[in-house]
């Protein structure tokens, strides 16, 4: 097994005066609140260990006060941990002198911030250059690299704008470009999309995934939003009160929650976005054109007790839908060719479409929805009733009151954008 790119071993961060006296209490298993009361010290991180492999998106997720932002700040020593090791490709960040730490920050790590952290007096280009500039790179080389990074995030043409002239989403792209400009080994993203409104946030998530598919960076992503964590993460670590509760793939987290805390969390996920058409589709009864005629079609419908049947060609490519009325009429008129009489204005969807996206269509559609792969092969069908039932049921179960409805993200959205409907 190869060496992990970033490894955190038994990391502790205690905020407050004389933090050493807290360790015996932690060993006795005292709670965070009890320790705060006894010593006045706040436990930020309590014995966190994890390792991050090259090229993965590693999501640290937790609510406010869980220590996730402290963790990411320990990875580049914006905050100095009280105890523990942070190994960047085997080099212990804690033991680095000033010079090596500066070098690591300039060339090996970079960071994207929740509120962007852009310099208002600099243009987009000069902001993107910042990391290269402080490392002493000559002006023309750094401007070239910055322009490349801006092109990557889709901001070519905005080089001479000022941050205040850009929307939130675009400002964060500048933040991302600045972080990509020094071609870091690890990209740290601290609630990078949390300050954006929901639509832009989704768009930025998609773009990050696209970028990642091309660049294969190692990304540490902090979020309080489980939907975001599930969407972006190759692996997720869930934190509570400074402790690591569970580490695993999104599926592990959803299917095998480690304890009640994670279970309660997972219940809050919008499952309509996780469950796709493929999960709930049924096998579609079909006849093959041009081999089968109206007679076979009618018999098939009788067999399955349905008033319509799908028609595919010999490659199983989808052709259309034949209803029982048409089939009987064609049989009576002795017409063998069903093709001109097929209903083709059906709604067709891909197997990985989340069912939340199918809800409106299902409400309007007259016929079942067709699931087909990108090559046009028929995979299955979705009853309108199935879609509607699934979406409603899943939404109902979400309305259950849980102790976690008021996440810090919820507050942020409320305060920054006024009323935000989910």
């Amino acid at each position: 097994m190869t060496q992990p790119i970033l490894e955190v071993k038994n990391l502790y961060k205690i905020f407050g005066h004389r933090p050493e006296r807290v360790f015996p209490l932690l060993e006795q298993g005292e709670s965070k609140e009890a320790i705060l009361e006894k010593t006045g010290c706040t436990v930020g991180i309590n014995n966190a260990s994890f390792s991050i492999e090259k090229g993965e998106v590693f999501v640290v997720m937790g609510l406010s006060g869980s220590g996730k932002s402290t963790v990411i700040r320990c990875l580049n020593r914006l905050i100095d941990p009280t105890r523990g090791e942070v190994l960047l490709q085997g080099d212990d960040l804690m033991k680095m002198d000033k010079k090596h730490l500066l070098d690591a920050r300039r060339n090996r790590l970079s960071m994207v911030f929740q509120h962007f952290g852009l310099l208002p007096h600099r243009t987009v280009l000069k902001n993107t250059e910042y990391g290269l500039e402080v490392s002493g790179m000559p002006s023309d080389t750094r401007s070239e690299k910055a322009r490349e990074a801006l092109k990557l995030v889709g901001l070519a043409g905005y080089e001479d704008s000022y941050p205040s002239e850009l929307s939130g989403g675009m400002q964060q792209r500048v933040g991302l470009a600045r972080a990509l400009a020094n071609d870091p080994e690890v990209l740290l993203m601290d609630e990078a999309f949390s300050a954006l409104d929901p639509l832009i946030r989704t768009q930025m998530q998609d773009e990050l995934l696209e970028l990642q598919a091309r660049m294969h960076k190692t990304i540490v992503f902090i979020t309080h939003d489980l939907d975001e964590a599930l969407k972006l993460g190759d692996r997720i670590v869930i934190m509570k009160d400074g402790k690591v509760v569970q580490i695993g793939t999104p599926e592990d987290i959803l299917t095998q929650p480690a304890d009640d805390y994670v279970r309660a969390f997972v219940r809050n996920v919008d499952r309509t976005r996780v469950i796709t058409a493929a999960n709930i589709m049924r096998k579609a009864a079909s006849i093959t054109y041009p081999v089968d005629g109206p007679r076979v079609a009618a018999r098939e419908m009788e067999r399955i007790g349905s008033s319509s049947v799908f028609v595919v060609n010999q490659d199983r490519k989808f052709c259309g839908l034949l209803t029982i009325d048409t089939a009987l009429k064609l049989e009576k008129d002795k017409i063998q060719d069903v093709y001109p009489h097929l209903i083709t204005d059906l709604f067709i969807t891909a197997p990985d479409t989340p069912i939340s996206d199918l809800f409106l269509t299902a409400l309007q559609a007259k016929y079942p929805l067709v699931v087909q792969d990108p090559d046009g092969h028929l995979l299955g069908m979705l009853d309108r009733a199935t879609v509607l039932r699934e979406v409603t049921e899943l939404t109902e179960s979400e309305r259950e009151p849980t102790p976690f409805t008021e996440t810090d993200g919820y507050h942020e959205l409320k305060t920054e954008h006024g009323e935000v409907s989910a």
């Binding site: 914006l78 920050r105 960071m111 911030f113 310099l119 910042y130 490392s135």
Partner: protein
């Protein structure tokens, strides 16, 4: 009861400095006089109307046509009232005082922002400087630097320095945490942090402090006139002592014109760094 006689102690300190630092005091006086003479020479060298046009051009660049017109006609009016010389000497004094205030005040403000111990020490000192009535330190100033513009500049400094320090401190402390974190995360040294991130981000606030310093310096002109600093202060004081309403009014009006001009021009400094016309 112990009798402290604080006043006497203060007097002894002033006398002690006067007696023992004679040479240093003279050196300080000479160098400030040199700076003052340089400013006065430059300001009075061109014909007043040419100078008025230069003021107007500066106003045009900073704040637009309206202020440019005001500057030209205002300055022309001052020339017409034959108050050009005293106005320029007042301006030279204000510029000298403000220059010294910035050279001292901005670094002190930065120190105050970086160290909370420095802040704790400076805060009451600044309060003291700002609220102590000017007449209290006029006489000591005269004892140390003798009658004239240098004493006036020092009296002005005591009054006008605090806003430069305070607002620099405020501006640096108000730099958003995300910006500071970002600068650190990308590998800035403390010096790079200060000059590439903190000072530029704090610039609008620091410039507001400069504006305040200039306005306070102008407001000290009349009081400085009492200790022979010359300029418009002397004109206004003559109006007062000789009961010449016309002289007093013309001197006062000149101060107002100068004040409005300096205020509007310096107000734009802070804004220019933040926004830009597309």
């Amino acid at each position: 009861m112990i009798d402290f006689r604080l006043g006497e102690i203060f007097e002894q300190i002033v006398l002690f400095i006067q007696r023992n630092f004679h040479t240093s005091l003279r050196a300080i006086r000479n160098s400030i006089n040199g700076m003052l003479d340089l400013f006065t020479d430059v300001l009075t060298f061109p014909h007043p109307l040419i100078m008025a046009a230069i003021f107007a051009a500066i106003a045009w660049r900073c704040a637009g046509k309206g202020l440019a017109a005001f500057a030209f006609f205002g300055m022309a009016l001052i020339y017409n009232m034959t108050l050009w010389e005293p106005t320029m000497s007042t301006l030279a004094m204000v510029l000298s005082a403000v220059l010294i205030a910035l050279v001292l005040g901005v670094p002190l403000g930065i120190l105050m922002a970086k160290s909370s111990i420095a802040e704790k020490i400076m805060r009451p000192l600044l309060d003291f400087m700002q609220t102590l009535p000017a007449f209290v330190y006029l006489i000591p100033m005269v004892m140390l630097f003798s009658l004239g513009a240098v004493s006036g500049i020092f009296a002005t400094l005591i009054f006008a320095l605090p806003p430069a320090v305070r607002l620099t401190n405020l501006g640096i402390r108000q730099v958003p945490e995300d910006i500071r974190d970002a600068a650190t995360a990308f590998g800035s040294t403390p010096g790079q942090m200060l000059f590439k991130a903190e000072i530029p981000v704090a610039a609008p606030t620091i410039m507001a402090g400069v504006n305040q310093t200039i306005m306070l310096a102008l407001s000290m002109v009349v009081i400085a006139g009492l200790i022979g600093a010359g300029g418009l202060g002397e004109v206004v004081n003559r109006g007062l002592t000789q009961a010449r309403i016309d002289v007093g009014f013309e001197g006062g009006l000149s101060i107002v014109i100068l004040a409005i001009y300096l205020d509007r021009v310096t107000q734009t400094f802070g804004r220019k760094t933040k926004t830009r016309n597309p």
